[in-house]
Subunit: 372 residues, 4 copies
């Protein structure tokens, strides 16, 4: 059976001067195979991933794997514990507003230098350990800067170190009020259908600070540069990384957690991670967009909003998707105004509060979507 | 038809030095009748009452009334607009933690002095305007203290001034994740069945700072003291005041708003406020408790909670009502612990976030309840 | 020399399910003597008390005492660690606004019952352990309520348990922008001059939830009731409790900390706690008021405030104590308005931000003060 | 004398559905001259700039100018009014953490296209109005996107529209606990000595989202591209933009405000804006660094910090600049740890709270500085 170990590593210290830890669970199979890294709750209010990891561990305790897997639930001990009112202020550092999922390491110039330094042609398998070592050193060097480093980056880089060795990286998130969706790098389109996620966003090779990007942008860019320098060889990105958004924040549900764990196992099975398993993806409708077609609808005015469309629902251009109550005009025709769908769309998520200022992200939607 | 007027009154000023207003809608019937005061959203995230007032206004525009009604939606311009993360930090003053619904005026000694001052016996009808004038002066005097007054009290007292003349006061609230419930003073039990609210809490003559109490405690205590001093006469409390909790905070829904407006109109019809109306209360099951049997279940430990019981649901003692995930013990038998119902109960509301510290109000429940 | 021990006790658990601890430092002298309890930072941003405790410990490591002392720095592991912007949101529970210093136990009816239960006359020394045991049981019973208890109360009661055995209780606080001041129960006036604190507030036997009150109200009320029941005997309150406010929040300063530690040691020396010490109180001016003369000046309007008076400063009635900038009227005579001292006063503290809404506590002041 | 006008423009609407305004003050001289734009308090807690604008207006009411000036105090009606505890949560949108000073418009590709479109050679004076019109259209187009735009961007772009016509743009800020410093684009070094600001940071042509950059990056890049395309002509950047940081946030002081207004007037005088004025810069020591030498020192561990160095102070490498109290080790040699200056430096600002997590910006410092 798989070999199991658990440790707690210190990733931060608080104003009491005390260490703050994340739990790291590891399972190692008897046969070789892919290395997998899964974390959850880098945004403190997005807690359902912890339940998914619980169900994965239940599975891994009794089912043999090939390769190994590292699971880090509740990976942000700061963001998880900042309350403000009854909710969890878990998306950004309350001190400076920095998003907890935007401080990972990526540096294109490091890759350029690395490819430049390659004198003779090596295979990707030969390059992989050398490149990983480069990344490892770069991250170590960031973490040990003499003047120090900001909290979000510090936390992110320590997690990234844990993920560095993995062939597959999965970052478990939730939306505000949301349906299931997944971010997939464009080169890994084929993998999208192995999860049980009906809404798929293909993302380009562009780094905005998140863990999935910090993972695949390095390899994608490396392979791109290798393809230019050594065009005779066929270079394929050897790593896949995903952000999975499994419904709404501030809520856990064990039954859904089981379902999402199954979806992840289905994908891992497809990648040869399970020794003997017949887990297959569900037969569901899947819709995809390119990132440019995952659009945000902002409120034009402040007010109190009734969201008329549930996440997952398909809407035609021109349909009413929200009503806004204007408390100063309740007796006249301006009491309620309507917001219309600006295009044919699928609603993926909406803002979790009826009370909005102007410029609030009311809805995020798929437009120009394709059925897989 | 009814006479309509609207004004905006300034109740506060902000850090930009600007006035902050509440809208005041008034309808006056051609025939005499009860005076009604309804406000909503003193807690800024509890926004559904604004929709109820919208529907009431729609009704009042076309249906003749007896007496008059004052409606103050969105009555807290400060609390409505404090965001912290995506949610509204609307329950308390963010500066000092003071609950926005605990600063109303009540002073038993004023009532004692007043009753002491009555030399000859008057009828309640004769006493009412004199006593109202006393309250008015007391509130004015609070508002004009030479050293000033705190923001929550200042806001509350200005609203209380608007409500002072009313025979019926209704304060519209929401719970966190909640089913409909209503606070009714014990002497007004009969009125409870005219609303469309299935869960009723009878409250004693005890002032904790809220508007309903600030209203009925004055009159209840007055009548109690009059009954002692003038036992020959039968004294009945001439005013009714309620806090209505209409479901969950952070959400509005026009259809439910229509339903709750109907329930309020049904009660007002019963009180003779509608000239010709056949609005009757719905035929629903109603359950009531005394305040001491409206119990809070606190978390014993922190963790991530799956709430297994929906507000409104009846539960037997010993049933699992919540599961708590322990992220540090996911591989062993402590991964999930259970919370059991400590008694036979009806769940009225639960905490709106899965993430809780120890000592959090997980559930509020009816025990020892009675079916009406 | 004194016997030293240290332990960490768990007082709460957070949303990660982890225990939160407070450190408890104890020194016990070789000779008998008073029992002392000192805590700091129940309000998370009021951190200077931790430095004072550091200096006390430095002293206690090398100077013999009579009796024993328990020191609990940083006694609120929740409030210490809630950031919101750069500052510490440490005065109240961010979930519900409850002040961290208002959940201690006090129940007059328990005292009434206790005194009623005394059949024969005992000495105070005989009564003390029995009464302490009653309090201990009452607090245990609160902490073990089957439905649980709120976080602030839970935290407070555990600290109160630690303080229960003490003859002297000192709770270390800071004001917003403040000068040194101390709350002293009226019966312990004589003790006020032994600290190095120039501003003294005498408080009556009234419980508002704080630790000092929770301590002395029990004994004060007990002694009052004993004096009524057994008037032949002379009853003196055997316990003293103080809240010390040592300057401004959000700041620590080791030099001031040494000074305030000396002041506390001077008082303890006066109480016979130090074996051989010549620590005497400083020869400073001391001013005192009764609680009713410790007044709050609230802002009448919102705006941007220049505080013209430093804490500790004496001001005559009618002097300008603040200027308010009105950003909407900068070109005309309303650009700057003035706030005048409503009375002759000593400023003890002011609000720590220039930006205020109406109803903000601008200043707290002594009026009708007396020089000791 | 100068012609004066004032208006209030609506820049946002809140959750009550109400418009939020900024005041816009304009003075126009009788003679032609430079156009100046000055705003303050885009970060809501940085309020001293409002006092500076007050003093500028006092001056402008009685002293003739050449050209015109637009002054927008308190330019962020949202951030100014978000309280969280006693302080103002004014640096970022509390909904999503977005810094209020990072949403201005800059798009290099627009400039490239513009320069590409120039067929014949024009003078800079001829190009200026055409380029301004381009920027204006681009900003309009951003503001009118059919799906809307986020709140910080919306607010920023409306302010940028007001600033677009100006030759001189000054954005008034404060640091946390800070001494005076100013950000100056490298090409405008000569202007630095005309303000009364002792600490100067030269910034390169790099856009990070702030107003000063949004202003000068457009013109700097334009001039760079024109120089390449039309090398025969000498192109000079026709606009100057600065961020002035005038001491600490959360405080106003009229005397300092007068001093800083004088410094700005001295600079404007140098630019020919004042008709007859002898205002000269003060004779003070001025130190400058390039942006790369304006360094942040982060905390390595959490704890309670005593800041030993005041902003403005010069420190040698190796000196103790902070002490950190460790509340769990008060009796042993780990009670207090020291933080040492990693280099010779001038402290410009420090964190405004003693309580810090690891990864907090303790100090920002000049290293490798030059005396002007």
């Amino acid at each position: 059976m798989n070999q199991f170990s658990k440790e707690h590593i210190s990733v931060a210290s608080n104003a009491s001067g005390r260490k703050m830890h994340v739990p790291v669970y590891r399972f190692k199979g008897q046969a070789p195979g892919p290395k997998v890294y899964i974390q959850s709750s880098i945004h403190g209010a997005e807690v359902q991933g912890n339940v998914v990891i619980y169900h994965l561990i239940e599975f891994l305790k009794v089912n043999p794997i090939r390769g190994e897997i590292v699971l880090v639930p509740n990976c942000n001990p700061v963001g998880t514990n900042i309350k403000s009112g009854e909710y969890t202020l878990g998306r950004f550092d309350p001190v400076n507003g920095q998003n907890w999922n935007r401080g990972y390491y990526y540096d294109e110039s490091m890759i350029t230098e690395f490819v430049d330094s390659l004198t003779g042609e090596l295979s990707l398998e030969e390059i992989k350990p050398i490149f990983k070592e480069k990344m490892k050193q770069a991250i170590e060097s960031e973490l040990n800067k003499p003047w120090g480093i900001g909290l979000a980056s510090r936390l992110n880089l320590q997690l990234q170190s844990l993920a560095l060795d993995a062939d597959i990286v999965i970052d478990l998130h939730n939306g505000p009020v949301a349906t299931r969706h997944i971010y997939v790098p464009e080169y890994a389109k084929e993998s999208a259908r192995y999860f049980n996620i009906p809404h798929i966003i293909y993302i380009p090779n562009q780094f905005s600070g998140a863990l999935d990007e910090a993972t695949f942008c390095h390899w994608w860019t490396l392979v791109d540069k290798l393809s230019v320098k050594f065009p005779a060889q066929l270079w394929e990105t050897p790593v896949e990384a995903f952000t999975l958004e499994m419904g709404s924040q501030e809520v856990i549900d064990f039954e859904s957690g089981q379902y999402d764990a199954n979806g992840i196992l289905s994908y891992l099975n497809h990648k040869g991670f399970l020794v003997e398993s017949d887990i297959e993806p569900d037969n569901i409708n899947r819709y995809s967009v390119f990132l440019k077609d995952y659009k945000i609808l902002y409120s034009q005015d402040g007010g109190i909003v009734e969201y008329k469309v549930k996440p997952g629902q398909h809407v035609n251009k021109g349909e009413v998707i929200a009503n806004v109550l204007n408390v100063d005009e309740l007796e006249n025709e301006n009491a309620v105004s309507h917001i219309y769908a600006p295009d044919d769309l699928i609603v993926i998520l909406h803002f979790p509060s009826a009370s909005v200022l102007c410029g609030t992200q009311l809805y995020k939607c798929f437009v120009n979507y394709t059925k897989l």
